[in-house]
Assembly symmetry: C2
Homo-oligomer: 349 residues x 2
């Protein structure tokens, strides 16, 4: 077998981000139109008048989604939305998507129609066009790969590396709910598996389950920024959890961060459910992921532009790198925040 | 399970192209920049000065490649090349690629390095930049999804729907060799599986095996077209076999075709090997696929531009749709050509 070498380093030793960095470090950009390569929410291609922004994500059955509790229509919708979120996180607007799927023939045409109904719903809602893709078979399971293409104005894109000491840390919406929705779905799955006669009990959990199964991307905020003339100094979408995203911004900008727990919005349902699960709500917000909200920094002279913006929370300040990445709790204690990228290289097959 | 509906149509009933058409028929383009959507080698986005061309392909272990005889470096190279081929088939030039991979942890970091060495070799040779991607785990096997992005000049792109009655049918290079290379590799695999002590015997088959494992995309021809000012009236890359590609052009252009067997170039090694396998060489060329040559049509007044172009063969003429799609054999017999798209929805998992 070609992959059996003498030296064998397990991919887990590097972690997801380490692995990507390791594999792609010797790929310098050579074409003049390649403005930004690997390492941000999306790549940037210069087109003279404006810039083309490209992002791609792969969703794998058994890793990123579980069809036992994920309706295919929701899956189609979400697979588009998570990519649009990356385009918005560049302060750009998505225009097109390509969708490739590999599937085993356990899936019927009707099942695929459901998946594409969801893809269509997302395309309609976000006004993007499906322009291409590939459909192929797989020996096992379903894999969805989406590439989103957007447009941004020259000089107005927001990268991960522009945060400066003194900038305000801003977060849209509330965090942790998608993660708690997932925990609820997983709990009901386990109950069902050990006792198939029992019906899932998700009553009263619409909000949390909805945040997990049907996330939305914050294109509304990109429009709001445009209206008030705000260009964030840095921006990233919150797909892996606030802590992980804050680390990306700090690392790439060469800065530290002081995050105020009181500035991190958590939905009351999430608050209650976290406690029911014996978890700390702020931990769910920091490490949970999949909320697809935006984390961004703004120059302090732009404070009036965000202060009264609906659904935006000022949640701290960028500090010098040597001061670290800290959380100031509601109780007034300072804690180091640790990055929580997701590691999920689990199965040997 | 979400995919269990009352009505269940097997995806095989529609076939690959039928399935794509069925699923994507209700996706009209709405953004002004979306010039061309699904149904050609690549999608086209208008950028004012020039046009951005986007193509994407997914390669799945056990379906598109077999790691028993495919070195990972070659696989990386090929996964990029097959996408660049689609960009060239639009008469455009590739500039960037994104590469997403899903892999089980049977793959080591060293194995992935080999894969990326091949990706890098292709990027260097074709002068394209790797600008993004996604790396994730999979419960089983390896999936590679590549998106290629290129530039074309407005008014100079070659679509599948532009062939006119009287146009000359042209083919680059020789056909069938990649398919015969695959048959050789498959034969040696079977020998090895039934008797692991026996070493693979591929001696003397470098050309055929090379065409399968390390195909090249015909960017050289796009440059040659540019030099003589030729814009093909239609063009497609030969990934699924000449017959299938000719059907695409005829269907989309609303025409028929008269293909001359004598105009289809077949390498001597392919000729010999086809006969050894008791196959008709022209059948290998028509149905084999994976040669990544270009099939294109030119206006008869452009005949002088292609007549002496190296490695280009004039192989017939576009005729009215009602006259069908025919092969004129070397023996002077007329045969109907049937489309051979690949159907490979095999496993129920």
């Amino acid at each position: 077998m070609a992959e059996e070498n003498i030296k064998r380093t397990d991919v887990n030793e590097l972690g997801e981000f380490g692995l990507i960095e390791h594999l792609t470090q010797r790929f310098p950009l050579s074409n003049p139109s390649s403005v930004k390569g690997i390492g941000d929410d999306a790549a940037v291609i210069d087109n003279g008048n404006f810039q083309t922004v490209v992002s791609t994500d792969m969703l794998v059955e058994g890793i990123h989604f579980d069809l036992m509790y994920t309706p295919l229509k929701h899956l189609g919708y979400k697979s588009v939305v998570v990519n649009l979120s990356d385009i918005y996180a560049m302060n750009a607007r998505p225009k097109q998507v390509t969708v490739s799927i590999a599937l085993s023939n356990r899936f019927s045409v009707e099942a695929l129609e459901e998946l594409y109904d969801g893809i269509r719903a997302a395309c309609n809602f976000y006004k993007v066009d499906l322009i291409g893709g590939d459909t192929t078979s797989s020996p096992k399971g379903l894999v969805i790969s989406v590439t989103a293409i957007g447009q941004g104005e020259k000089g107005k894109l927001a990268y991960r590396n522009g945060a400066k000491v003194g900038d305000l840390i801003c977060i849209s919406g509330n965090l942790g709910a998608a993660y708690l929705g997932l925990q609820l779905l997983e709990r009901e799955k386990q109950v069902y598996l050990s006792n198939p006669g029992v019906q899932p009990d998700l009553e009263g959990h619409d909000y949390l389950v909805g945040r997990q199964l049907k996330p939305e991307a914050r294109g509304d905020l990109i429009n709001a920024f445009g209206k008030v003339g705000l260009i964030p100094t840095s921006m990233i979408d919150i797909s892996d959890g606030l802590a992980s995203e804050l680390f990306h911004i700090c690392k790439q900008s060469g800065v530290g961060a002081l995050l105020e727990e009181s500035g991190v919005s958590i939905h009351p349902d999430a608050e209650v459910q976290a406690i029911n699960f014996s978890m700390d709500p702020i931990t769910c917000a920091l490490s949970g992921g999949e909320d697809y909200e935006l984390l961004f920094t703004v120059d302090p002279q732009d404070i009036d532009k965000v202060k009264y913006m609906p659904d935006i929370y000022i949640a701290g300040e960028i500090i010098p790198a040597e001061d670290g990445i800290k959380l100031n709790t509601k109780g007034g204690n300072l804690h180091d925040i640790t990055a929580q990228g997701w590691k999920h290289f689990g199965n040997k097959n």
